[in-house]
Symmetry: C2
Subunit: 167 residues, 2 copies
Amino acid sequence: MNPNDVIKKTFIFNSLDEGEVEDILRISRERRFSKGETITQEGEQGDSMYILFDGNVEVSKTLTMKLEEGDFREKEKILTRFKAEDNLVFGEMAMIDRENRSASVATTTDCILLEIEREDFLELVEKRPQMGVKILRRLAELLVSRLRQSSQDVIRLTTALSIALGS
Amino acid sequence: MNPNDVIKKTFIFNSLDEGEVEDILRISRERRFSKGETITQEGEQGDSMYILFDGNVEVSKTLTMKLEEGDFREKEKILTRFKAEDNLVFGEMAMIDRENRSASVATTTDCILLEIEREDFLELVEKRPQMGVKILRRLAELLVSRLRQSSQDVIRLTTALSIALGS
């Protein structure tokens, strides 16, 4: 696949026309990572977004917290694997709010990614607002869908906790 | 406060200029509710967004699920109260994705709200894309912030569950 096709297939860009896809490509930087490298580290700062172009990655996220110094409980993690065909975009949360990365992403093969920096993204959506609206609408849809999923997880966990505590 | 000031103070519209606030006002419909009325019902369909203009409301959300027919466990709910000065916007998730309402909102006093319908909102952000970008950027910021909060809840609950199960 060429980079244009990859961009066109990612959810947040899938309403763009050919010319607009070219604009995205212009602000994207090709990044190559070797197998086993960390692309984003949970908790660290960062403000760029990535599109997986070639190779496989593993997304991991801490699921329990360390309660005190003497607590040697292993932090539990969830792990999800993605390949290029999954049209994965990640890093868009930190790109929006400049806060810490919500998950770690590491390569499990050699990988090629497209990186889009926050400043370039914001400049583009402001200079090309019609395109900006298309992208930001999709981004809002993506975030709403994740928020609904996360809320569902909260409901499941509260139910499980309520049963575990015998209430 | 007049409706313009209320719109200007709500987070998703707080980067708009005077003329743009007028545009929002033009697509807003004033809705009056008596004390004790339900504005949105969790789980029901709906696709408009509301801004609390005058009065107090109570937002409630189911926190545990009913596991089977014979299960008489009360569904636990979280309740949050808001007054007009909190500049509450709600219903924006269903406005974006047309799925079910994620929470119920009921009035605890007589209330005045501004309602914005999905179709009018989308027509406006497309016709006035520069303004659309401003609103959608704020909306993305709001959703990212909620998503981070919800993820934090998942971490706290998983930790509590891990302790409750003695693992």
